[in-house]
């Protein structure tokens, strides 16, 4: 059992007031808050260890490099990747997906097909649209069912020998749906397609295991994992990363440069041009340790309890409809109240210290599918409590009263 009070104490921002009230932070899908260990790791890096990495022979440069590479190993273990050089440090999930999608521009041709789904985040849609535009490949879309799950039968129909790549989110940031990616990966592999998983919403909530999963690429962001902003991970299988064209040119990613011929470095450097976010990567390790310290399965279980409670309570509000009612769901509740605009609800509960997100959550196709301008979204993290859910629900009720 997790001691949530003990956990909350590690997050300084949770004791701040917002608009005169205790902060209730339910916008974890957008970004999580950071424990002291992460904040301290970053400032300690600057106070004692800062230097540029990889090529210096002096002490601090070696130290910074060691710290930087320690995080790579930590991530490798966290997701059970086969090799540490399969872990590429990026700016975030969006950056990770773009690296792959940009590389596939030259690996795909007219006639080839990429499959995504209707519930993807814009970051897992637009890069593929750009990729198709440049390569001549065609984008196919797995439709969404009314309960917020993917139409897996239709996925089967879309698959063919032309399918070269399937890019699917592990968990929908808007609907909370946990997609059956094991099944999706298996089916995709059966036709020889590669699979990229957008794990932005998954990595802090459920256990992920590259060697079991057999995904070809997996992407996530540190800032959604109790870690710093400006850091992400692109996991890729060694041979596929070797095949993938280099993305950015610059320092670190080269083997030799001359005006006649430039050759690129091996993994992971090939995809890490320029000075990386060293402090962020170093602090990212503390975030992973925070998660593994609690145990990802304990987190998942605790959040499941919160989700169940919040769902029951929120449904007591008359006229409230939840979008996304999959059986297999992460702690995200998107809803609307009949006759009310989510923006108005968000504005009012904010005055009572409750931070929820409203809008399209960078998933316009989902909004189009349900024909709504947006939703209000509660998204939970391990430091949230039932008490906070009660406060939130009361705030929503009050907003409803004011607006009706």
């Amino acid at each position: 059992m997790l001691d949530i009070n003990q956990i909350r104490k590690q997050f300084p921002i949770l004791s701040r007031k917002v608009n005169g009230h205790e902060l209730v932070y339910f916008d974890n899908g957008a970004t999580t808050q950071k424990p002291n260990s992460v904040i301290t790791a970053e400032s300690n890096y600057y106070q004692n260890e800062n230097s540029n990495v990889h090529r210096g022979v002096h002490f601090l440069s070696g130290l910074a490099t060691d710290k930087f590479e320690e995080t790579r190993i930590t991530i490798q273990n966290f997701i059970n990747a086969k090799h540490s050089h399969e872990i590429i440090f990026t700016k975030g999930t969006t950056d990770s997906i773009n690296i792959v999608a940009s590389g596939y521009r030259s690996l795909l041709n007219k006639g080839d097909e990429i499959i995504i789904s209707e519930l993807e985040h814009h970051s897992n849609i637009v890069p593929w649209q750009m990729c198709c535009e440049q390569s001549g490949a065609t984008l196919k879309v797995i439709p969404l069912l009314d309960n917020g799950t993917l139409d897996i039968t239709e996925f089967g129909n879309l698959l063919s020998k032309n399918t070269k790549l399937v890019a699917i989110s592990h968990i929908s940031n808007t609907l909370g749906t946990i997609n059956p990616i094991e099944k999706i990966i298996k089916k995709a592999k059966a036709v020889g397609a590669k699979v990229l998983i957008d794990g932005a919403q998954a990595a802090s909530h459920i256990s992920i295991n590259m060697q079991n999963l057999d995904a070809d690429f997996y992407c996530f962001s540190a800032h959604k994992l109790y870690g710093p902003t400006g850091v992400g991970v692109l996991y890729g299988k060694e041979d596929l990363l070797n095949e993938l064209p280099a993305y950015q040119g610059g320092g670190e990613m080269i083997k030799e440069v001359s005006f006649k011929k430039t050759t690129y470095a091996g993994l992971p450097h090939k995809f890490e041009a320029g000075t990386p976010n060293i402090a962020g990567v170093v602090a990212f390790k503390a975030a992973i340790n925070f998660i593994t310290g609690l145990g990802i399965n304990n987190i998942a279980k605790y959040e499941e309890g919160l989700l169940q409670y919040a769902t029951e309570e929120v449904l007591k509000i008359e006229g409230l409809k939840i979008y996304g009612t999959a059986k297999n769901k992460s702690a995200i509740i998107s809803f609307n109240i009949k006759g009310l605009h989510p923006y108005d609800i968000g504005m009012i509960v904010d005055k009572m210290g409750v931070a929820i997100r409203t809008g399209h959550h960078c998933t316009q196709p989902i909004m189009d599918k349900f024909n709504i301008p947006g939703t209000a979204r509660i998204s939970l993290a391990v430091y949230n409590t039932k008490d906070e859910i009660d406060i939130c629900i009361n705030a929503i009720k009050k907003a409803k009263m004011m607006l009706s």
């Binding site: 605009h341 923006y343 009012i348 809008g359 301008p373 607006l403």
Partner: protein, 138 residues
């Protein structure tokens, strides 16, 4: 004192009556509900100002040397602020609209609502109102 300034002064006075955010928000909601509806035929794509979250429709007519604005929004709080802006700027002369200083926004504590990064399209609405004024003034 110009008419626009006078109206602003009145609005500031109105808002001074409120003790807390709730009264203020309730007032905005009421204003939103009472806003004279825009004609359906003017809710066109051209008249639509898209914020990230709430949308505003703005229509302008030039009659007898003045500009009449009508507007709507899908979010009621946004619509309340829209109502205030119309109250201040509609039925005024183009040159007055174009040069109007909208100080009252700060004073009634709606500054945040009208910052460039807010998701409600109100900043674009003010810009568009002024552009109409400049266009009609020529």
């Amino acid at each position: 004192m110009s008419t626009i300034q006078k109206i602003q002064a009145e609005i500031i006075e109105d808002f001074e009556l409120f003790d807390d955010w709730m009264q203020k928000y309730e007032y905005l909601i009421d204003l939103g509900k009472e806003l004279a509806p825009i004609k359906e035929k003017y809710k066109t794509k051209d008249n639509l100002i898209k914020g990230c979250q709430s949308r505003v429709w703005l229509h302008a007519e030039h009659t007898q040397g003045k500009i009449i604005f009508t507007a709507d929004s899908d979010a009621i709080m946004t619509k309340g602020i829209v109502a205030i802006l119309i109250n201040v700027l509609s039925n005024q002369e183009p040159k007055d609209i174009a040069t109007a200083k909208l100080d009252f926004i700060n004073e009634i504590g709606l500054k945040e609502q009208l910052s460039a990064t807010r998701a409600n399209g109100l900043v674009s609405m003010i810009k568009k109102m002024k552009l109409y004024a400049i266009a009609f003034n020529n």
